[in-house]
Subunit: 249 residues, 4 copies
């Protein structure tokens, strides 16, 4: 599977590193908005041996059509920003290239665009592309179905400066149909991020807990998404969709 | 659903209390080996209002055939001891009464007997009938399938006097195909029992944790087992079997 | 050290059991309000071998003066109710018998009475007499002094039916001079009680956590209080006072 | 307080950043073995505004005597390597400059050298200079003194590749006089490092837990060490020594 990545910030680098180390994927290129690191080799930059040069290009160097024709890929993975999709979306859909987007804050019209593109190619969008969180969401739904009488509380811990309740905690609550006041927010020091879903039974508790070790936790999730999206026909997907089949034991 | 219980120790009482409070079940009787509390009313003894007298009988008062004919039930729940099945097994199977046994340490010949009875009626045997532990086992299998490259460690905590690694931890390890040396045993004070399955990713961890609040945690599990076994045809079941359909989201 | 106990509810029994098993204390008697169990032997009732009969008396059988003259003790431990002190307080103070009270909800006039008695004998009052919680309070104060720039959050978990923030959590917050909105309240199922004090540093966290295994956790605390109060002269004490010398390493 | 730092790896940078942000300290310089970043400004490099240029020098540029004469400091903080002390030790001691060394693996002769230098100036050596771990060690000693009958277990979690039991866990065990087999080692994925000391009482548990968020956790510890060492006369110190007075509440 040939992969191209948009974005080379902290998350993008970590994702590139996971793809470079996977035996099943070839990193063809990374595209950045800026031309600063143009034509440097990603494997060399990250110190990971690879057969493929895996160069960095800038958006100004090629149109997306030129990019995909000169350097074809099967899947693109987008860790850039909300306007990345404007650059490559149409060109990718036209060529049936699968799109994995981990951009967290799309305005409505971009989400609509993603869904429109999904009529022509396979598209996945996940604002939190970690395997752990999405697994927690589904496993919690299962337990809630098994034991609907349990009390569910969500505890999320983050660094002091994060003012609002985490978007992930809200999505967990929504998925379980519980009110947002069951989310308990802890703010202290430099905690990167933990989410715990607590199920209270009369004489036992079950806790499903996810801890982020670094903000680079997206690599394995993106690889999972790309691998499981690859070969699918057109359609709009979420991480949940791709994880669901694994729950049929 | 009419239910009879064998055994009225700590676990048996807790289970009786859960069945009495469930709107879907009627507790018909409890049978004890000893005649000490003969003909006392279980709802009265436990202080839980109920329409049905729910009396305590002793094994000496009736044969199982007499018991089932005079006081018919749909399901029997066994929290007595390994020889309980000798008293009621044949009589229950003959009448197509479902059998839920939570006796933890059967010798081989009793397990064989259970399986033989299962050719004629629905039988479930679970040495740890809590919902939490059995959910953990299945959810862990799912996550292992999703992320086979993660490192899995099992941590179990129990009271000082418990010498050996817990049987539950061993069963968790076996279900996941990991070696018993991945089980880390903590022994301190009066800890009732916790089991944690830890999945280590490169940049995140997922922890699935079960804590027992009291040794009476079996009530909800037994109710779940009885409710989900009721109406099934003959066959030998485990808690995992009954939980599996809930994983098909 | 000869000890008498007031109150024989769940906490009182657990405390009696700890005193019976301590090589340094002799349980002289237990006094109950009701005469139901009059003259039964506590060691026999609890199944703990002891040289001393350790009988149960009722408040009606003796006045406190008669009790103390016929069955002298060095320390009384009070797990009864707010009016226990009216029965025995004056008689104990007069004889220089140390008083350990773990009654949690005294009205103001009883606290005043305790302090008045403390002018004549050693008195300790602790509404949460566990060693764990009181240790946590002092250790947290130390860490706050060492690292005043850390963010402190208190997380307390209890059973569903407990509506209010726990009194213990409030006392912890007050001791640390932090606002009560830093207490995060978790309510689920049958959780007995946990308190965690979380210190957030930029790149590390410290968590001090107390978990109650059963509501009988007061025994070791009461023994510690009695042992450390015994031999002290008159004065009003708290668990913190008695723990403080142990912090001078 | 004027400070100089030896070493500018990951830990050294993090420490420099904490000193730059403290109102009580002025970062005079950083000395590296390599001349690569010579004469760059540390505040500029780290993006932290400061009045002082805070330049980077190399060991080859100056002898330590020249360095201290041209750019005098009150305290040096050493995050370099075991031979750093050979470069600056004698010159610092001669000028009564306090020495804080966080080098973790000194051979015996270097420890002897540190102690020799301590006859002339204040020296602190700590192989794990975090406040959290050293606080845990002392608080645990206090609790062990209060409740010597508790069972103590140490649980340490680290990344998969760390083969041996952590040196910190061993030092915790030694400080508490418990055997190393009470240390339970968890190895999974990319866990940075946690240490938990668990005290088991009959009916309660106390857990003191330290979690490292990043390998840069040494900044606050080094600042604490430098601030508390400054003004002390000659002598050899540990983090424990400096923390002890804070335990006298």
């Amino acid at each position: 599977m040939k992969v191209g990545i948009f974005g080379f910030g902290r998350a993008g680098r970590s994702v590139a590193s996971v793809f470079l180390q996977s035996p099943d994927t070839v990193l063809e290129w990374v595209v950045r908005r800026s031309s600063k690191m143009e034509h440097r080799s990603v494997p060399e930059f990250l110190g990971i041996p690879a057969d493929n040069p895996g160069l960095i290009y800038s958006r100004d160097e090629y149109t997306a059509d030129e990019l995909f024709d000169l350097h074809p890929v099967d899947v693109v993975v987008d860790f850039s920003s909300e306007d990345g999709i404007d650059y490559y979306g149409e060109a990718a859909a036209k060529r049936d290239i699968a799109i994995v987007s981990a951009v967290s804050n799309y305005p409505r019209d971009k989400v609509a665009l993603l869904k429109k593109l999904a009529r022509r190619t396979a598209v996945l969008w996940s604002p939190n592309i970690t395997i752990g969180i999405n697994f927690l969401m589904l496993a919690s739904k299962v337990l809630q179905k098994i034991a609907p009488y349990t009390d569910i509380e969500i505890v999320e811990e983050h660094f002091k400066a994060k003012a609002d309740v985490s978007g992930t905690a809200k999505r967990l609550a929504d998925a379980l149909g519980i009110k947002h006041n069951r989310i308990k927010k802890i703010r202290a020091g430099g905690i990167i991020g933990t989410h715990e879903i607590l199920f209270g039974f009369p004489f036992q508790t079950v806790r499903l807990k996810h801890e982020s070790i670094s903000r680079e936790a997206f690599g394995n999730g993106a690889l999972f998404a790309a691998t499981n999206l690859y070969g699918r026909k057109r359609g709009f997907h979420t991480m949940e969709d791709l994880l669901l089949p694994y729950f049929a034991l």
